[in-house]
C-alpha cells in the first residue's frame, strides 16, 4: 500500500458514505505505515513504549473484527482469536505478533476487514438496520447497547490514534514519515 493509493474521503457525501470512507482511509494508512518492512522491523519498539507495528496490526485486526462481527452482530471472534485464553493473557496479540511473518499479519488484517465489511454492507444496505442499529452486546458499565454510528466513529478514532503511534514508530525504524 502506497500513500497515494489510499481510499479517498469525499468532501460532500451522506453520513454512511462519509463514515465508511474515513474508516477505509485509515485502514489503508495503517497498511501503508506497515508496508515494505521485514519481520524483524515489524517487531522493533520505540522505547520507552513496547508497542510494535506488528503488534499494532494484530491488535487492530482483533479490535475491528470483535467490534463489528462479535459485539455488533454477536457472531464470536474469528480464528486465531477465538481460541486464545484472554483472561490469562490480555495482551496476547501484542506479544505474539513477533512470531508472525509480514504476510501472515497482512492476511489477518485483510480477513478482519473483509468480515467487518460484510457486516457493514448488510447493516447499511437495503433493508438493513442502519446507523441507529444497536449492538448485540451491552456496554459493561450499564450504558446499554452501542449504536452502529458510535462503533464506526470509534473505529475511525481507534485507527487514527494508532496511526499516530505508527507515525513515530515507523520514523524510528527507517526514517519514513508522512500523513
Amino acid at each position: 500500500m502506497e500513500q497515494a493509493e489510499r481510499a479517498e474521503r469525499p468532501v460532500r457525501a451522506d453520513e454512511a458514505t462519509s463514515l465508511r470512507a474515513f474508516l477505509d482511509h485509515h485502514r489503508d494508512t495503517l497498511r501503508w505505515k506497515c508496508s515494505g518492512l521485514t519481520q524483524e522491523q515489524l517487531a522493533q519498539p520505540l522505547p520507552p513504549t513496547d508497542m510494535t507495528l506488528g503488534g499494532l496490526m494484530k491488535h487492530i485486526a482483533v479490535v475491528e473484527q470483535s467490534w463489528f462481527e462479535d459485539d455488533f452482530v454477536g457472531g464470536g471472534l474469528m480464528p486465531p482469536f477465538d481460541t486464545v485464553d484472554w483472561d490469562s493473557d490480555r495482551d496476547w496479540e501484542w506479544h505474539t505478533a513477533r512470531d508472525d511473518s509480514p504476510e501472515e499479519l497482512f492476511a489477518l488484517l485483510d480477513e478482519a476487514r473483509r468480515r467487518s465489511d460484510v457486516v457493514l454492507d448488510d447493516a447499511l444496505g437495503p433493508g438493513g438496520v442502519g446507523l441507529d442499529g444497536l449492538s448485540a452486546v451491552e456496554a459493561p458499565d450499564g450504558r446499554g447497547r452501542f449504536s452502529l454510528r458510535w462503533i464506526l466513529l470509534h473505529m475511525i478514532e481507534e485507527y487514527a490514534r494508532h496511526n499516530g503511534h505508527a507515525d513515530l514508530i515507523r520514523e524510528s525504524i527507517d526514517g519514513q514519515t508522512g500523513q
Binding site: 474521503r9 469525499p10 468532501v11 460532500r12 457525501a13 453520513e15 462519509s18 463514515l19 474515513f22 482511509h25 485509515h26 520505540l46 520507552p48 513504549t49 508497542m51 446507523l131 441507529d132 444497536l134 456496554a139 450504558r143 446499554g144 447497547r145 452501542f146 449504536s147 454510528r149 458510535w150 466513529l153 475511525i156 478514532e157 481507534e158 487514527a160 490514534r161 494508532h162 496511526n163 499516530g164 503511534h165 505508527a166 507515525d167 513515530l168 514508530i169 520514523e171 524510528s172 526514517g175 500523513q179
Partner: protein, 180 residues
Amino acid sequence: MTQTFDQGTRREAPIRADELTALRGFLDYHRDTFRWKCAGLTQEQLAQVHPPSTMTLGGMMKHLALNEVGWFGQTLAGDDYPEPFAGVDWDADPDWEWRTAGDDSPEDLRALYDDCVSRADAAIDRALESGGLDHESVETSSSQGAFSLRWIILHMIEEYARHNGQADLIRESIDGVTGE
C-alpha cells in the same frame, strides 16, 4: 482560573445519539484527551522531543489551535485568522507554529488553544443555523470544491486522534504517563 483535565473528567461521546451529537461528542472527547496529554508539564517539557521525530507537545498545541481556526473559522465560515496567526508570513515560514512554540509559556499555549476552540465552536454553531451537517464551506478546495461541515468535523476528529496517538508516545517519553 485554571481548569485541569484528566482521563476521568474528559467528555465522552454518547453511545446512542443522532449524527450531530455523536460527531461533536467525539470531537470534544479528543480535545479533552489532548488537553489531558499536555496537562501538568513545564515549558521545557512541552518543548521536549522524542527522537528521531522533531514534534513537541507545545508545537502540537499551537498546531491544533491553528487547525481549529483554520478549518472551522477560515475555511468553513470565511473568517480571518486571529492573532498571532494573522501576522505570520506562512510562505516564508510554513512550520511557524511548530517552530515558535518553545518560546511560549504553558499558560500562553493553553490560552491560545482554548480561545481557538471557542472560536471554532462558535463557527460550527453559526453554520448549523443555516443548513446542518450538509452546510458547505465558504472557502473551497481547488480540486474538490466546497467542504461539507460533516467532512470538516470528521477530518478534525481524525486529525486529533492521530495527533493524540503521537502525543501518547511523546508524553510517555517525558514522564512515563500513559493511557488511552
